[in-house]
């Protein structure tokens, strides 16, 4: 198990290096003048030259890359061109919204999907199963930003239970902050929950047909204990794969939902940075998103090994 963690950590570090190199090459080394991209076609030659100097574009690419990576390791992400603020400060503020938002969405999604999927499979073709089928089809078909708009109309404008958007900050207490995050988190969670429910249902059905489930029943274990002790632990293994893929979507999906709910999160920052062609911020945010995905994959790998003893002993 320890060796598994060590090898996965090593591959995590190598992947992060490769990703940072790829981002740097695409944004700064491929043909095209970064300064010209940021300032637009109407920029004057002397402003361009000043920006190039400010960004250090006159120095060799390797030096710039090492400075960028070295800075990140010290917590220095450079200074935003549009905000004139350290990117690290900008990102830290935004992560305080995006990370809780995504975690909440993940929690809602799994808390919905796992019980629903298992319940549907346990009584196949029963009323729960049919309801789950309808729910999951709707969830897959409807995009999350539209769910967000409907939620605002119903829960905020009509019922007035939740704020229609914006974020009061964590300083004002947990409850208002939580209320501001709940609707966007549900909007983010529902489509993913729909997919995860279907995966859980089919994984559970497959395990229910397994020989060892028959063995458990032949021992006299009743239906619900068989489900709890034999079916669910085995069904979780394929579900983890899909959940791992989805976790990245939660962070990516945040870009849309944050814009609908006007939340100043990382997704919104990425959107604004793109609109303003702030390459310095974009470079850092892309790396952060990639880093999150890579770390999540690492955690999923470890989760696998915890769930499945066969993987623990093989590596």
């Amino acid at each position: 198990m320890l060796r598994l963690i060590a090898t996965r950590l090593l591959s995590l570090a190598i992947t992060l290096m490769a990703v940072s190199l790829a981002i740097f090459l695409i944004l700064e080394v491929l043909p095209g003048d970064p300064a010209a991209i940021m300032l637009g076609t109407a920029a004057r030659e002397d402003t361009l030259a000043a920006l190039r100097l400010e960004m250090g574009l006159d120095r060799p690419a390797l030096v710039r890359y090492l400075e960028w990576v070295g800075g990140i390791l010290h917590g220095d992400l450079g200074t935003s061109f549009t905000y004139k603020l350290p990117v690290s400060t900008l990102v830290a503020e935004r992560l305080a919204i995006t990370v809780p938002l995504s975690l909440l969405a993940i929690l809602i999604s799994t808390a919905l999907a796992l019980p629903l999927g298992v319940a549907a499979a346990a009584k196949r073709d029963g009323p729960v199963d049919k309801a789950v089928l309808v729910f999951s089809q709707l969830g897959v078909a409807v995009p999350n930003f539209w769910i967000g708009l409907l939620f605002i109309l119903f829960f905020s404008t009509y019922l007035g239970w939740f704020p229609a958007g914006g974020f009061p900050g964590w300083a004002g207490g947990i409850v208002p902050a939580f209320k501001a995050l709940l609707l966007p988190a549900v909007a983010l969670a529902l489509p993913q929950a729909a997919v995860l429910t279907r995966v859980t249902r089919s994984a559970t059905l497959e395990v229910i047909g397994a020989d060892f489930v028959r063995t458990a029943r032949a021992k006299g274990v009743d239906r619900s204990a068989t489900l709890r002790r034999h079916v669910v632990p085995n069904a979780l293994i394929p579900v983890t794969t899909i959940l791992g893929l989805q976790l990245s979507f939660f962070f990516g999906g945040a870009i849309l939902v944050e814009n609908v709910f006007n939340l100043p999160g990382l997704g919104r920052l990425a959107y604004q940075a793109l609109a303003q062609r702030d390459l310095i911020v974009i470079k850092d945010i892309v790396l952060i998103f990639a880093g999150i995905v890579i770390v999540v994959n690492f955690l999923v790998d470890i989760g696998y090994a915890l769930l499945d003893p066969r993987l623990r002993s093989r590596s």
Binding site: A210, D211, A216, A218, V221, D222, P233, N234, R314, S315
Partner: protein
């Protein structure tokens, strides 16, 4: 003295199959009885309804199969009127069950000890500490070495034989009145099978358990049965004491089944001395390296300096237990797996030394027939396409290749119209004929058959063996016949090579090998063949 009550009595039981099945009843009007301490073997081919009988007895019939009429009594108690909660109480406590597949019948993510202890837990018996203690004593009762270690293991860390012992420990944990064993040794090697059969028999004598033993193998029947019931398509055709059924069977179906069991006495050898050598393998070596570090400790020597030659028209049997390396040798000879060393010569071609590019046109010289007739044919292609594909890649025109496919189908005993049909429309035996036709389409000199009849019922197996023998005489094929079944080897092979741990430990003329085996391991294998004394 009054008659004792049978442990299990099945009375005029009829089970209905779902509407789309090829017959209406899984079981029709079946009556059986088993007395305390008695072993009743239910024998039949696939689809005979023998497993359905077992599942009905523990109330776990698959979806769509229903009891239409009749009754099942356990020590006088009517089982069919039980509620689900009562069934849970009966299962495990009154009836223990051992299933066929040791690899999949245990929960892969649960420790062995927890799975055994769960039997007590499900019935609310003993406290956790007592359960652990009983678990350990059960593990030693089924002769597992190192019970403490095995208790903490996960199923994948155990061998097939060990897992089956764990299953038996679990089934006998609550000392049930009836033990149901559904093909419990079919997936095991012969030597392990012999040990497991002995174990079941000893425990039955010790505890007076009644045993319902389901099998397709008359050798196993001869080893373990007191009485035998023969099922055909859901109907009981004959029932009686084991000696009567084995030696004086009355029903023609029983006679046919028994006649299909290959005898351990080989037929007289054919004269092959003048024939040219078709394939010569010299010092073939293959090592599988484990993944990760340290590499060395995980290496498996699957083939270690294996040498043999096969003449035109000759069959060499390659026998051994699972993991002995016999399949690796077969794959290396075909160069489906690249050997690490040694030479392979087919006719006058140094087959083992060819580059991949040179190999392609020469591949036709050696062809393979696979074990699993269901997995080895592409379900999306017609039989004609499957057979013609090889010749077409070798440059034959499609229309000529299809013509030949028709002739080949005729040659292997199928109708020519089969070319336009898909594999799922055929039975296991028919599919194996298609597999043979596919191999023959390449006009090979050498045929490698890897457990080619092992998945088939005995009567079908006998037909396929006859077909192989006929085709060999007609086409002069040299055959490398890989099998774990010594009975089949005795009947089909001219010579037999016995493999153990990657090495050929003994190779001799079949008659000589069976009559006077030289190697200790060969003797051990022969002694383990079930039913050798009673059936020959």
């Amino acid at each position: 003295m009054t008659d004792p009550v049978p442990v299990l009595s099945v009375e005029k039981l009829t089970l209905g199959l779902p509407g789309l099945a090829d017959r209406r009843h899984a079981i029709q009007d079946l009556s059986l009885a088993i007395m305390p301490g008695e072993t009743l073997c239910v024998v039949g081919e696939s689809g005979s309804g023998k497993s359905m009988t077992a599942m009905a007895t523990i109330g776990l019939l698959p979806r769509g199969v229903n009891v239409l009429s009749g009754g099942i009594r356990l020590a006088g108690r009517d089982l069919l009127s039980l509620t689900e909660a009562q069934w849970c109480d009966v299962r495990g406590r009154d009836v223990g069950t051992v299933f066929q597949e040791p690899m999949t019948s245990l929960n892969p993510v649960m420790r062995v000890a927890d799975q055994i202890a769960e039997t007590f837990r499900a019935h609310g018996l003993l406290n956790p500490a007592e359960r652990d203690r009983r678990t350990l004593s059960l593990l030693s009762e089924v002769n597992l070495p190192n019970p403490e270690l095995i208790a903490r293991a996960y199923p994948h860390e155990l061998s097939g034989g060990q897992r089956q012992r764990v299953m038996i420990a679990m089934a006998l944990a609550l000392e049930p009145k009836l033990l149901i064993a559904d093909e419990p040794t079919t997936a095991l090697d012969v030597t392990t099978q012999a040990q497991v059969l002995k174990l079941i028999d000893n425990l039955r004598h010790k505890k007076g358990t009644a045993v319902l033993f389901i099998t397709h193998d008359f050798g196993v029947v001869a080893e373990i049965a007191d009485r035998v019931a023969v099922l055909q398509n859901g109907v009981l055709v004959e029932q009686g004491p084991v000696d009567q059924i084995l030696h004086r069977p009355e029903h023609p179906y029983t006679r046919r089944l028994l006649a299909a069991v290959p005898s351990l006495t080989p037929p007289p050898p054919k004269a092959l001395t003048g024939e040219p050598i078709s394939i010569k393998v010299d010092a073939l070596t293959k090592t599988y390296g484990g993944r990760g570090w340290p590499r060395k400790s995980r290496e498996v020597q699957a083939a270690d300096a294996v040498s043999f030659e096969i003449r035109r028209g000759e069959t060499l049997g390659l026998v051994g237990e699972s993991g002995s390396g016999k399949s690796t040798v077969g794959r290396c000879v075909l160069r489906l797996v690249e050997p690490d060393g040694g030479s392979i010569t087919i006719g006058d071609v140094a087959f083992g030394a060819l580059t991949q590019r040179q190999l392609r046109p020469e591949r036709r010289r050696i062809q393979m027939v696979f074990q699993d007739p269901f997995a080895s044919l592409n379900p999306r292609r017609t039989v004609g396409q499957i057979i013609a594909e090889g010749p077409i890649t070798q440059g034959e025109t499609p229309s000529k290749a299809l013509d030949r496919a028709r002739r080949l189908l005729d040659q292997v005993g199928l109708s020519e119209s089969a070319v336009d049909r898909y594999p799922h429309e055929f039975s296991g035996g028919q599919r194996q004929r298609i597999g043979i036709a596919r191999a023959l389409a390449m006009r090979p000199d050498v045929l490698v058959a890897d457990e080619a009849v092992s998945a088939l019922d005995v009567s079908v197996q006998a037909e396929i063996l006859k077909l192989i023998r006929g085709l060999q005489a007609e086409l002069g094929l040299a055959i490398l016949f890989i099998t774990h079944d010594l009975r089949v080897a005795a009947q089909l092979c001219d010579r037999v090579a016995v493999m153990q741990k990657g090495r050929i430990v003994e190779m001799a003329e079949t008659a000589q090998l069976f009559a006077s085996p030289k190697d200790a391991y060969t003797r051990q294998l022969l002694a383990a063949v079930p039913g050798a004394e009673r059936m020959g």
